[in-house]
Symmetry: C2
Amino acid sequence: MSTGKVVLALDGMGGDQAPNVIVSGADIARERYPGASFLLFGDPARLKPLVDRHKGLAQALEIVPAEDVVSADDKPSFALRRRRQSSMWLAVDAAAQGRADTVVSAGNTGALLAISMVAMRMLEGAHRPALASFLPTSRGETVMLDLGANLECDADNLAEFAVMGSVFAQVLLGLSEPRVGLLNVGSEELKGHEELRQAAVWLRREGSPVSFQGFVEGNDIGAGKVDVVVTDGFTGNVALKAIEGTAKLYTQFVRDAFRTSTFAKVGYLFASGAWVKLRKRVDPRRYNGGVFLGLDGICVKSHGGTDALGFAYAIGVAVDLVRYEYRNKLVEGLAKLREVASAADAQVLQASGGAA
Amino acid sequence: MSTGKVVLALDGMGGDQAPNVIVSGADIARERYPGASFLLFGDPARLKPLVDRHKGLAQALEIVPAEDVVSADDKPSFALRRRRQSSMWLAVDAAAQGRADTVVSAGNTGALLAISMVAMRMLEGAHRPALASFLPTSRGETVMLDLGANLECDADNLAEFAVMGSVFAQVLLGLSEPRVGLLNVGSEELKGHEELRQAAVWLRREGSPVSFQGFVEGNDIGAGKVDVVVTDGFTGNVALKAIEGTAKLYTQFVRDAFRTSTFAKVGYLFASGAWVKLRKRVDPRRYNGGVFLGLDGICVKSHGGTDALGFAYAIGVAVDLVRYEYRNKLVEGLAKLREVASAADAQVLQASGGAA
């Protein structure tokens, strides 16, 4: 581990409440992570007054002018070609070229993915990037990926995602051997799509770089059965949003229930401390900071609607990934995967009709 | 609507707590649904003493001997071939042959699907069955399908599921024009799998048998944005279980929060009425009764672990489907779908690269 300096490129203009939240978030992160400094990309006329409001922030932060902005409605292909001078493009480029160690943006997710893939390229041994994030569970936290970078995934992609997620959990959760599961419709060997069964065969092999626990189901996510849940981007995106929607629904149900009678209202007041604890435990800001894993560079995506504290959490994810050498660990893990799942092996398996 | 007699075939031996829960559930349903009578399949030596415990139940119920039982571990193919004399097979057969109007089982889901498909066959115009059920939402209840009958679905399947779900919501929720959405990773026209985009083109056409609202996302399920959420069986199964897992997790979080201090415990006591209301609102028994839609017959799957009240709810679903003429409405809806989405049309669309 290195506790040294980390230079972060920040997309100053990305997100619903940019640039305010970006600057305030950087200020919180500066206090939390000594050694962190920032290259803040965007419109100096808007950024400088905000930076000056935070005493001492200017010493750890340099404003880098960017004329253009990627809008929330920009198609990825449009942002990629026509927004070369945007705060997002220039921030990603700084991380890709080594002027920064990592980039954090709260802007347009699709555009950020497209730009990062072109500017950073894939890491050796990785074929597709995956969007990973944390979810609260009954045992703590679980990493889930892919949350939407790839709608269709083959066995190779899924096996690589398992390695990426495992290394991510090692670095971010401090686990030495994260338990990894493949999301499926049943825990039996024979169920589910062919690509899932084939990925399972590889991950189970002697020498596999992950501690593979087999198939898990949707309800195992919240139960924290594994530390890393691996799935394709379509299923992962639907599951993540279904989970978020249910959390919101239950919060509303609980609130409604406490409004039904005077007794309940009194109970609510007595229990106000409990509510604060509950809100802290499920605070979405604590789970802010999705990461595009598998790129040759570290790109962290903050939620577009987060506040300064949430953005500071996303910066924290980026700092940890740099300091705990995520990149080297992932290269090592992917090389091990190649040993247990060679391309020839894949062809043999496919020709024989799959996971026998 | 017919308020007349309904004959229900019950799998007396299916489910974790069979036959007790089945018999007690039938007794509750008998009081709720006057005109309902039962053919109860299973071991008479075990069933008769249970039936005799409920005063008057024997008058509305006939025990039909079945020597064998489908176990929870039986593979569908095994149950299909080797359990012909089981309570499940004979109960399904009674509904398929017209000796009963519908069948309800709390047994092995895969076996029930396989047996129903063989015994009942598909309804005219339907190519694959879909498992549908209700979920609580902030606006009331939403129907979701397919929850796991088909892991891979083409555009045709999805469009048919939309019609099935719409008719199901009409009959069970009493809605004249249920709002139907296709589950996707974004609400934009261009996102998601090709089969989703093609199904959307058909459902949107003039003359479509459903009130199609376009694509919905995972978080729209709990928000109740539509009355019917249509998806493939893999995604639907994962989403349903993720929702159930999250509901369980939040219940635990709330409980934990109220145990943290004396104040909170006092608040909990004051609010006990609120908890009762909350529990009622999200009571899984109220949402018991998944239905295999698209079969030429009505087959209701109760949750295997439910209690007598939950089983009575499943019986209620079966009774409503018979009384409100689900079958005729579905045949009509599927015929309308064929007019807007002919096979030739599908080929043209595929050749031209899809949803233009």
